[in-house]
């Protein structure tokens, strides 16, 4: 039998990138929050400048629980889904914001209105076949104040390209208008970032520096980035990466209103007969507990948010929590993001050091920033090059058909070229489709005997076309930068397990086609809020975390403003 705990105002399931920001406005308003986190606090001493530790064995990115919860994957419903090799999730206070690259983007205004803007400019037939894409129930302008809040609360480095309508070519000229400049300038420019910006301009593009939740200046008593080059899939050894574990969570703790329960493995969210959420049932050190709360905020990774809802069946919800319209798991989006284009340069690039987010980005071929008439696709891809190449990854380089992949000739080749090659990271605008969804695997179970999440992801046409188009532009960029070899290896299958998994409990106006309302609360369960990537409606051509955090803050403010009606 579970031990019943004392009721609290809000119980949060998963204290990562999303709830990690939401707890701050809640606790500042005097609301008592208990956060159930499957992982523990991590310390700078847990983070090492060691590629095998971080990238090969993934010792930082994955707590013990997630290894048992890796989703299964298949490309059509007739297949038996197979479990992926490594999880994309994270158990720790701060969650994935501990090990992420910290590229901190606002989505483009177009991302919020993909359907209506596409129909307006190209006609209804331009909507990709089989896509379930809808406009978001809110616009970029609605979210702008919250983007701004997050950028200042956690600290983001960057350069504005559209300051209240005034375009600055040093920043992203395609971005939506922002009310003020970033709180910190971009991360340090280097010979490499300058070379790639000059080359992009030569090719006629508008390059700019990556926005990053990393300190380019000392901030709030924490260090500037040390640029040591083990940011990717590692944590920060000087707390210069602005994960929620070093920013908003400690700030929320200072209010005295936040209780963090580490190593809490949440099994179910319980509901009463009217469909109201009553609290969370969890296991800690072998003991079962029930934490009652007036409001429940489910805030784990996309796969786990969906899994938790499908597992939480009750009298009110026989098919899973808030799933009486069968929408939970639908409209899932695996972010189409690849390194298809690789270039070989005649000089040492010296990109061993530095943060991954110390990058250069071209947005000319993303969103609707160019005319798509006659191209056969909508959207596009942002193109990024960055610092931070580790030695094992560098040695695994393509040999451009010049030598075999082993032996003395190969050895001579990597001696000369391991520091002279580069891939471009192309992130596509990605949409939900009828043939792509999440549900529970009928066979594979976790340690508690619960089924893991299953991904079904059918073929797409739009995203590979957009990616191929952007790849041509990346080739031009590399040629302009002096590359002596450029190869493109198209990815037409798309992601299996995605590190940018979104959708599955999407936001919308109607219970018939979405799970949560514009504020992140379930249509069918009025005191259940959902935070995280699962609420996204479309996926921009960029990393999703800042958007997830802006939405989380917005949900939390909504709770504060409407506490009586939501908790009552």
């Amino acid at each position: 039998m579970a031990t019943n705990l004392k009721p609290v105002d809000v119980v949060v399931v998963g204290l990562g990138a999303a709830a990690g920001v939401a707890v701050l406005p809640l606790t500042r308003a005097g609301i008592k929050v208990t956060a159930l986190e499957a992982g523990s606090w991590m310390q700078p001493s847990d983070f090492k400048a060691d590629e095998i530790h971080n990238n090969v064995r993934r010792r930082v990115t994955t707590g013990t629980k997630v290894w048992d919860e890796i989703p299964t994957f298949r490309t059509n419903p007739d297949q038996r889904a197979r479990q992926g090799a490594a999880p994309t999730m994270m158990n720790a206070v701060g969650g994935t914001s501990i090990h992420y690259y910290a590229n901190s983007w606002r989505f483009h205004p177009w991302d919020f209105k993909v359907r209506s803007e596409t129909v307006r400019r190209y006609g209804a037939s331009a909507i990709p076949k089989g896509s379930t894409v809808e406009d978001w129930p809110l616009t970029y302008d609605d979210l702008e104040p919250f983007y701004d809040t997050i950028e200042y609360e956690i600290g983001v480095s960057g350069k504005a390209g559209n300051l209240a309508g005034k375009i600055d070519p040093k920043g992203n000229v395609f971005e939506g208008a922002r009310r003020r400049e970033y709180p910190m300038p971009p991360l340090r420019d280097t010979d490499f970032t300058e070379m790639m910006q000059a080359a992009a301009r030569k090719a006629g593009f508008n390059p700019h520096r990556s926005p990053a939740a990393i300190n380019s200046q000392p901030r709030n008593g924490r260090s500037v980035c040390a640029y040591h080059g083990y940011c990717d899939t590692g944590g920060c050894h000087v707390k210069a990466k602005n994960s929620t574990a070093v920013t908003t969570i400690p700030a929320a703790q200072k209010t005295g209103n936040l209780t963090i329960v580490e190593r809490a493995h949440v099994k179910r969210i319980l509901t009463d007969d009217n469909g109201k959420a009553t609290g969370a049932l969890y296991v800690r050190d072998g003991q079962e507990f029930f934490q009652p709360a007036k409001v429940v905020l489910l805030a784990s990774y996309t796969y786990e948010n969906v899994r938790m809802m499908l597992l939480s069946k009750s009298k009110a919800f026989p098919n899973g929590l808030a799933n009486n319209h069968g929408q939970v798991g639908k409209h899932y989006i695996g972010h189409w993001a690849n390194r298809e284009v690789t270039g070989l340069f005649p000089v040492d690039l010296n990109i061993w050091y530095g943060a991954n987010a110390q990058g250069v980005v071209v947005n000319n071929w993303a969103e609707d920033n160019f005319d798509h008439a006659g191209l056969g696709f909508i959207g596009g891809a942002s193109l990024t090059v960055n610092h931070e190449v580790h030695p094992i990854a560098a040695s695994a380089m393509p040999t451009f058909g010049r030598v075999p992949q082993w032996g003395s000739k190969w050895k001579k080749f990597v001696n000369e070229n391991a520091g002279r090659w580069l891939g471009v990271y192309a992130q596509c605008n990605s949409l939900p489709y009828e043939n792509t969804w999440l549900d529970l695997d009928p066979e594979v179970k976790d340690k508690l005997g619960d089924p893991v999440c299953r991904i079904t992801s059918g073929p797409k046409v739009n995203e590979p076309r957009a990616s191929a188009y952007a790849a041509k532009k990346a080739e031009e960029w590399f040629r302009a930068a002096g590359a002596i070899e450029v190869i493109t290896v198209p990815n037409i299958e798309g992601p299996s397990l995605s590190t940018h998994a979104t959708g599955g409990t999407r936001m919308g106006l109607k219970a018939e086609s979405s799970v949560v309302d514009p504020y992140g609360f379930a249509h069918e369960s009025p005191n259940l809020g959902i935070l995280g990537g699962s609420t996204l409606v479309t996926h921009g051509a960029r990393n999703p975390t800042l958007t997830i955090q802006a939405l989380s803050w917005r949900t939390a403010e909504h709770v504060v403003k409407n506490w009586k009606s939501i908790s009552g």
Partner: protein, 207 residues
């Protein structure tokens, strides 16, 4: 000896606010004579001597010793792979050992003798045949051994490979630094080998 290097990392990384100058100072104070990372063979090897002989012959052809410096065998890559199979890749061990046996069978069938007993040229012929997909049951094994060879050759020496940083010298990777200044990211003056702070080796270690 692993503890020694971890402790030093911890000391440097534990502070909450580290201006670059402070890290520089800390680097300068690190003893140049700190112990090298552990290089001992695993106490309980995953492979027996015959299996290890096949593996060593294999990785010696993936990265041979030549005028550019030591190869995978000299760099401890065999130790790296053995330790992986004895520990975090233990689930993969049976498949891996099957791969070694199948390689030997393929060598016997196509060359008439065991793989490790072939001349280097003949070993290359066997591996080229596999690389060209003439032994489909060995394709995956070939890729796996190559991948693990790269890990052992170019990973942190604490895991048993990359002896004397010869792998990093080969690809001209300078070594990790806890704090990197603008001059370290210059393309005009490539960074010099930097092995003292994190690995306890002198600046010229291995040269």
């Amino acid at each position: 000896m692993k503890e020694a290097s971890i402790t030093r990392r911890t000391v440097l990384a534990g502070a909450t606010l580290i201006p670059l100058t402070a890290i520089r100072r800390a680097e300068a104070q690190q003893p140049a004579t700190a112990p090298a990372p552990a290089m001992n063979a695993a106490m309980n090897p995953a492979m027996n001597m015959d299996q290890r002989k096949i593996l060593d012959a294999f990785i010696d052809r993936i990265i041979p010793k030549d005028e550019l410096g030591p190869g995978a065998v000299e760099c401890g890559v065999g130790d790296y792979i053995d330790r992986c199979l004895a520990d975090y890749l233990v689930a993969e061990k049976p498949l891996f050992l099957d791969g070694l046996a199948n390689l030997d069978l393929f060598s016997l069938r196509t060359q008439g003798i065991a793989f490790a007993s072939l001349t280097a040229d003949k070993q290359d012929a066997v591996l080229t045949a596999i690389d060209n997909n003439q032994a489909p049951n060995l394709r995956g094994f070939f890729n796996r051994v190559r991948r693990l060879t790269l890990e052992g050759m170019f990973g942190d020496p604490v895991y048993g490979g990359n002896k004397n940083f010869a792998g990093w010298d080969l690809i001209r990777y300078p070594g990790a630094k806890l704090a990197v200044g603008p001059e370290d990211q210059s393309m005009k003056t490539p960074p010099k080998p930097f092995r003292k702070e994190l690995y306890g080796a002198g600046e010229n270690h291995g040269h």
